[in-house]
Symmetry: C2
Subunit: 234 residues, 2 copies
């Protein structure tokens, strides 16, 4: 794949390279945001909570910057074929990365509400943290897939999202049972449900990134196609 | 605005015009999906439920088609300035339209669960329907803003989203109170909460469309900027 991204114009190569590394930098920040939000959940750590909320701005700024670079690159370089697919894919990927940042911020705000109310959500922590770890791996792998333009890894992320959806549904069922048994905890449990929802949404966005990577590499639009666990369309 | 979109090449004009009308066609389908899903909510109408779920495929197919047309237009016509902003904005807008379609489908599935359980969510219908009507107007106006490249109307949609967020929070508070008072209704009320959440998300996406329209018209990226009710940045 690296070969087909090599051009006559080294200036063009440099610009495309910068664009790709900016996306990876944004991805790194986003990954870190998710990790910090989850860390805050486990520990009611006010520093981690406020950091996650404040740093969402950096991610928003990077989204604008990358969009701007992409538009300029299209206008100046008029990319075609795989280069155009790369820029097109990047335009879509940054939207998903920015939304992952939003969800991390929502998680941090949910944790802040729970901790401010004097509760500690330790009772549900194992389930939420397990889901979050899976999703964090998906985010990391979707970025690795983009960095290496590895459509196999991208496909793995897409398939992994099925497990996340099933786990999320099971967590919600448990939380509903808990609310029914202890109605006085409903407000707090609702915040845990919103947090679980945000984690699940992050999985959706990592899956979307995987789909965009496959589009870049293979020129195929795999969105809205169901993938079986061996990666074949079903 | 029409003037600056007029070109030497009538072929180019025709292609840009087709792209714009495809986006509006997709927008019309999406708007209709939201309306049908909400109609189903009010009436437990199985036909409306199944129609909404089935038709989400048409929206997904249109998203792919428009993305494809956009990429081809960039490759063949190498647009610059306002034309490039238009295509760039369209690439972002279709993502939001597709997500609105997803949320409409989620609403329909929530309604199906509630009605299948033999409940009728009439008790909460007025609040949900009120929120949905506001959001439906936002979707319609964001599409009108795109059709007419009207940044004033786009800005109105952005401001309206603040009201939707506040109304959503108030609905959730009422639903939590209801769950606490009647724990045997928790499962059903949770489905109503998911439906309210989807309606609120549709408002977010309409707001995003508004932001993309302003970018197309004014070349300004207004995302992540707070707007006051008179439209000025605060």
């Amino acid at each position: 794949m690296e070969d087909i991204l090599h051009h006559q114009s080294s200036q063009f190569d440099e610009e495309l390279g910068r664009l790709r590394s900016d996306v990876l930098r944004m991805g790194g920040l986003v990954e870190n945001q998710v990790a910090t939000a989850i860390e805050a959940y486990g520990a009611c750590d006010p520093r981690a909570i406020e950091e996650t909320i404040a740093r969402d701005q950096d991610i928003n700024a990077l989204e604008k910057q990358i969009d701007d670079e992409s538009a300029q690159l299209i206008a100046r370089r008029q990319p075609t074929a795989v280069d155009l697919r790369l820029v097109f894919g990047i335009i879509k990927i940054v939207t998903d990365l920015e939304r992952i940042g939003d969800e991390a911020k929502k998680i941090a705000k949910g944790v802040r509400r729970i901790c401010a109310a004097g509760s500690q959500p330790t009772q549900f922590a194992p389930a939420i943290l397990h889901l979050a770890e899976t999703v964090l791996v998906m985010v990391r792998e979707s970025l690795d897939a983009f960095a290496r333009l590895d459509s196999g890894l991208a496909q793995k992320v897409i398939v992994d999202d099925n497990g996340v959806d099933a786990e999320f549904k099971s967590i919600v069922r448990q939380l509903i049972t808990h609310m029914t048994e202890e109605p006085n905890t409903i407000s707090m449990v609702m915040d845990v449900i919103w947090i679980a929802r945000s984690v699940e949404r992050i999985g959706d966005h990592a899956k979307n990134v995987g789909e965009h990577v496959i589009f870049i590499v293979e020129g195929q639009d795999v969105r809205h196609r169901r993938l079986s666990s061996n990666g074949g369309a079903v």
